[in-house]
């Protein structure tokens, strides 16, 4: 009797290889210093905050309707968006800019509030944090109307749309364009990427969203995990390439192995 469930062996092996690679570059290979390519969307955050400071208007951050934190595809996007929120909050505190977060996610609320509070504390201005900077509104349509209403009334200078977006992406993006806001988008939802690309000035695509935290902090260990990820990509590309060539020759060994 097999120890591992039939059909999941290769997934297990690849997952272990991935974890080992990341752990190696994060914690074992300590000598090497890693660099990551610049991400224009992240570099634009201080510019977005500066613009708001000059115009005397707020900055809006919203993670999209996403889903619950326990959702395997949306949850990590929300967490990655919160990583960006932390940086954004710090920048806003430094520049004295009002940051408004509109959140439709009840389970992420405590995390968002704590993240913003901590960022204010870190910048030495805990008294300036006001819980009213976070607006909670559940369900897609009410959330969308509330965000559109906020944009119309307060005309934020910059909008940061990062997280798990659905149809609200194009509506928010266009509304932001209408008020002339500078916009930074980011999502891993493939069906919404085109809309954010079309409506935002800068964009974090797919894995860039997850790598944002590492890119902001320039922490060596975090960058090491990105290096491990890149090695994993090379392995997967190699498997795909070999599988493609062998498949063309009617040799199905790679497909059979992956199906184990």
């Amino acid at each position: 009797m097999a120890i591992i469930v039939e059909g999941r062996l290769m997934t297990f092996i690849l997952m272990i290889i991935f974890f080992v690679l990341m752990y190696y570059f994060m914690s074992i290979n300590k000598e090497q210093q890693y660099t990551i390519r610049a991400m224009p969307a992240l570099q634009a955050i201080p510019e977005a905050v500066g613009r708001a400071a000059e115009m005397g208007r707020p900055v809006l951050w919203t993670p999209g309707i996403s889903g619950a934190l326990n959702n395997s595809s949306q949850g990590p996007q929300i967490l990655a968006a919160i990583s960006i929120l932390e940086y954004l909050t710090e920048e806003c505190v430094k520049a004295g800019v009002h940051l408004q977060a509109i959140v439709p996610l009840p389970d992420a609320l405590p995390l968002i509030e704590e993240t913003m509070r901590t960022a204010y504390l870190r910048e030495g201005k805990p008294e300036e944090f006001n819980p009213d900077q976070i607006t909670f509104i559940s369900e897609q349509s009410p959330y969308l109307s509330a965000t559109l209403g906020y944009m119309q009334r307060y005309e934020p200078a910059s909008n940061i749309f990062v997280g798990g977006f659905y149809y609200e992406s194009v509506v928010l993006g266009e509304a932001g364009n209408h008020i002339g806001a500078m916009q930074i988008g980011g999502t891993n939802n493939t069906h919404q990427m085109p809309f954010l690309v079309a409506t935002c000035d800068y964009m974090l695509l797919a894995e860039e969203l997850f790598a944002a935290g590492a890119a902001i902090s320039q922490n060596r260990d975090m960058l090491g995990s990105i290096k491990g990820e890149d090695f994993m990509k090379v392995i997967l590309v190699a498997i795909t390439g070999v599988g493609f060539i062998l498949g063309a020759l009617n040799i199905t060994i790679i497909a059979d192995l992956l199906g184990m």
């Binding site: 889903g67 326990n70 959702n71 395997s72 069906h191």
Partner: protein, 297 residues
């Protein structure tokens, strides 16, 4: 004098060209409200005067239809239809769900209806209306059951795979699940023969991760057009045995089952709006090119 005349003419022609140029370059920056009004008016035309362009069947829609008809479905099979859409997406999802319900009922399958949208009851009632004749031949609790609303996202989809009764101890109308004849022996993923998820969000993806991947459950998706770019790779990879994309998918399914309905009617509007959009893009580019040429001069 001649040269002066020539010079004057030259200035005139340059001014004329520049004025034409600036008029054309305005095409690059037309107020969006102009387009909204044109679209609004143009969309009314096919409703008042239907055109009826022919429709061809996409392979992903054909696969969906084939997977829920003929040899692919045996009498007595138990299927789940997940209403992952609300009233707002009725126009895109409901026609396809209607056809799938009809097809499954006609093959003798039993259906469990569930939904993660707060207005799931309205969608269920709408289905009762759009599949009136088919529901009339079936008995509630024996051939179909409406378990109703669920919340909790992907965790619930995973939980349904292991124990349906723990998520739905009773149906939508308050009947304990143990008292529903159809649910006798239907306890978990192993007792379900197929799932059809219709979504504005990603419940199809949740069923793929929690049902199709680990247990090999037959799974199909009826998505809004926006989700097509995500759903089609999953169909090509074999995760979904078929996919219906937006109103167009619904119209194709209506054609396949031979009962034209709401989606077929909507196709004329789709044609008009898409054609207008292509025209708008051409106009915008005309403006941009003119601007570029003007800039170079």
């Amino acid at each position: 004098m001649a040269s002066g005349h020539y010079w004057v003419k030259s200035v005139d022609s340059t001014r004329e060209a520049a004025s034409k140029m600036s008029a054309l370059s305005k095409l690059a920056d037309i107020d969006r409200r102009v387009f909204y009004w044109i679209l609004f008016i143009a969309l009314m035309v096919p409703f008042l005067n239907p055109i009826g362009f022919p429709i061809t069947i996409a392979p992903n829609t054909q696969d969906l239809y084939d997977g829920i008809t003929g040899d692919q479905v045996d009498e007595g099979e138990v299927w789940i239809i997940n209403f992952g859409y609300g009233v707002s997406a009725w126009s895109e999802c409901h026609p396809a769900v209607t056809v799938c319900t009809k097809a499954l009922f006609r093959e003798g399958a039993k259906i469990i209806f569930i939904g993660p949208h707060y207005d799931v009851e309205l969608t269920y009632n709408k289905l009762q209306d759009t599949c009136r004749e088919d529901f009339a031949t079936k008995e509630y609790g024996v051939d179909y059951v409406f378990l109703g609303y669920f919340t909790g996202g992907e965790s619930v989809v995973a939980q349904l795979a292991s124990d349906i009764a723990s998520v739905f101890p009773q149906d939508h109308f308050g009947t304990p699940i143990g008292d529903i004849p159809m649910m006798d022996g239907v306890e978990d993923v192993h007792d379900i023969d197929g799932v059809l998820s219709s979504d504005t969000g990603d419940y199809g993806g949740h069923f793929m991760t929690q049902w199709q991947g680990p247990y090999g459950t037959k799974l199909a998706e009826v998505g809004i057009a926006m989700n097509g770019s995500t759903d089609l790779p999953r169909w090509q990879a074999g995760n979904f045995f078929g996919v219906s994309v937006g109103s167009r998918g619904g119209a194709e399914l209506e054609l396949l089952i031979g009962e034209l309905g709401e989606a077929t009617t909507a196709m004329d509007s789709i044609s008009v709006s898409h054609l207008l959009l292509v025209l708008a893009i051409i106009i915008g580019n005309l403006g941009t090119i003119t601007e570029k040429l003007g800039g170079k001069e």
